[in-house]
């Protein structure tokens, strides 16, 4: 697994949202995008999976250029995507939501389902319930489970902490670390920079649509500028 984003720019209509952004994720790595509200983290993730067409630059997944493919094709190459706000299908049941994450014809669908239920046993108990009836944490589990159904090699997560109590967020994060242990690479956008830097291997700091800093997460935690701007503490 490898993801290479090189010099990508993107815009919403006439409004430029990404400026010459380059990032990369290598096999087994846990990479984070941190940055304030509106920094362009979600835009970058959506550009990677083809929901927003890049204006310039290249995006390669496993060495292959993917910037002219449609989103579902990119997903099916082995990417699991958990969108900001979870975006479950509200009137479908938990299990139906999960099944929507798997291509129709795969033969290990029941295996994938079993794996998701092993990871999140509560979902098996509630498999017949409508997704909309679950708690925020459970909904986040469904969204992650749905992204795992296609057995991805790269998991992309946007703002997992959205609407979750800190303790629930921590629990979700430890599950992500478990998934990473199984060999799945992770790319995660997160406003909660402190937790993001703690769990990840490498991070990119974004500001106004640009990457302004990047490095090993342990180094960034100690970086005075990062501390001041994102971790809410002074030197």
């Amino acid at each position: 697994m490898s993801l290479e984003v090189a010099n990508v720019s993107a815009s919403y209509g006439a409004v430029r949202a990404l400026w010459d952004v380059s990032i990369s994720v290598s096999q087994g790595q846990f990479v984070c995008l941190v940055g304030a509200n509106g920094a362009g983290k979600s835009t970058l993730l959506k550009t990677i999976v083809g929901m927003i067409p890049p204006r310039s630059g290249t995006i390669r997944f496993n060495g292959r250029g993917i910037s002219n493919l449609r989103t579902h094709s990119i997903i099916r190459m082995g990417i699991g995507f958990v969108p900001e706000g979870r975006r479950l299908f509200p009137t479908l049941s938990v299990e139906e939501n999960l099944r929507m994450g798997a291509p129709r014809a795969i033969n290990n669908l029941e295996d994938s389902l079993k794996k998701v239920y092993t990871l999140f046993p509560v979902l098996e108990e509630k498999r017949k319930q409508k997704a909309i009836a679950l708690s925020g944490g459970e909904q986040q589990m469904v969204a992650i489970g749905r992204a795992l159904m296609g057995s991805p090699r790269l998991l992309i997560l946007d703002e997992l902490s959205f609407g979750l109590a800190p303790i629930i967020f921590d629990r979700v994060l430890s599950t992500i670390l478990q998934i990473k242990q199984a060999g799945v690479s992770v790319l995660m956008a997160e406003q909660n920079a402190e937790r993001a830097l703690e769990v990840s291997d490498y991070s990119y700091v974004m500001e106004n649509g640009r990457v302004v800093k990047h490095g090993r997460s342990t180094d960034l935690i100690d970086d005075p500028l990062v501390k001041e701007a994102y971790l809410g503490m002074d030197e």
Binding site: V49, M51, R70, T71, H72, I75, R76, F81, P83, R87, L88, F89, P90, T91, L92, E96, R99, M100, G101, A102, P103, R104, R146, A147, G150
Partner: protein, 326 residues
């Protein structure tokens, strides 16, 4: 029962049977609107085109091969599914991402085009536009009672004092059978669920690996095919003219899908039956009561829409909660 009580019962039962057809005529549009947020105003024209195909079939094919023209409804399903798919790729696909207005105008253009084709392209084969496959019982009621078009010999059943026309009954049964099948398709199969997922959140569907464009093609094709099926059946129970789509079908279909809740198959079925019943009830009231106050006899349709508007004021989201859309 008195004679007028029997007439009223006859009319109301006729209304329910007609309501089954209304539901069938509406269900395809409800599906398309629910998934794509595209109001295909050519849906009525699709139905009328299918009716003309069935009438052609009864004139050209039936006498030679002795095939009951009722079977041509299946042919209509296939042909209109193809017309729907072609319209989607040639027209709607190109404009659907631009918002609500362009697809609406595109299907409006398509509707005008199809009516023109029906009115002019098919002129050569008919001496009259007023065609129907049912024998006209009252010759004074229409200019179109052309004997050469009445190739379909219909039988009637007497249930107690009530007379049921066989074609109407068949239309009703087909409608009642197809809509629950559609419901099962949408709730039990992968493609059905993927269509619903697309309707609820198309971006999330793409993020999950669902080919949204394919789901849209599928629902548009299927919805158009259902218009074809409805059209084939329509020819057996109603008079058809090139403008039938706009003057009577489309307003009723819109009333049914709004009442039933967009995208809800079972809701559409119930709403179709209710609208059929209200229409025939309105006819009864208009005929027996309002004419005494010098209202025209065809005031029933106006009354139907007055009731519909009142229902919408009371419950603006339609009568049935369960929807394709959230």
């Amino acid at each position: 029962m008195s004679a007028s009580a029997i007439t009223v019962a006859q009319l109301l039962i006729g209304g329910i049977l007609q309501g089954g057809f209304f539901a069938l005529a509406s269900v395809g549009l409800s599906l398309i609107f629910g998934v794509q947020r595209i109001l295909n105003v050519a849906h009525g024209a699709f139905i009328v085109l299918a009716s003309f195909i069935t009438i052609q079939f009864s004139i050209l094919i039936t006498p030679v091969f002795h095939i009951d023209p009722l079977y041509s409804a299946a042919l209509d399903f296939v042909l209109m599914a193809l017309v729907g798919a072609a319209s989607y790729f040639l027209l709607i696909y190109k404009v659907e991402s631009t918002g609500f207005e362009a697809p609406l105008l595109a299907t409006f253009g398509l509707s005008v085009f199809l009516e023109y084709v029906i009115a002019n392209g098919l002129r050569f084969s008919f001496s009259s536009f007023h065609l129907t496959l049912i024998p006209v019982l009252d010759p004074s009621s229409g200019i179109g009672a052309q004997p050469q078009n009445q190739v379909y010999s219909s039988t009637s059943l007497l249930v107690g004092p009530i007379l049921l026309q066989e074609p109407q009954l068949i239309a009703f049964i087909v409608a009642i059978a197809v809509i629950p099948l559609m419901h099962l398709f949408l709730t039990r199969t992968y493609y059905g669920k993927a269509i619903r997922a697309t309707a609820q959140d198309w971006e999330a569907a793409e993020f999950s690996g669902i080919d949204v464009r394919m789901m849209r093609v599928l629902s548009f094709t299927l919805g158009s095919g259902l218009a074809g099926l409805a059209g084939g059946i329509f020819a057996f129970t109603n008079s058809v003219t090139p403008t039938t789509a706009d003057t009577s079908l489309l307003p009723i279909i819109l009333a049914v899908i709004i009442l039933g809740g967009v995208g809800s198959m079972i809701g559409t079925l119930m709403a179709g039956l209710i609208v059929g019943l209200i229409m025939s009830g309105s006819d009864v009231v208009a005929y027996y009561v309002l004419t005494q106050f010098h209202f025209p006899t065809d005031f029933g349709l106006v009354l139907t829409f007055i009731i519909f508007l009142i229902a919408l004021m009371i419950k603006p989201t339609g009568l049935f909660g369960h929807r394709l859309q959230k």
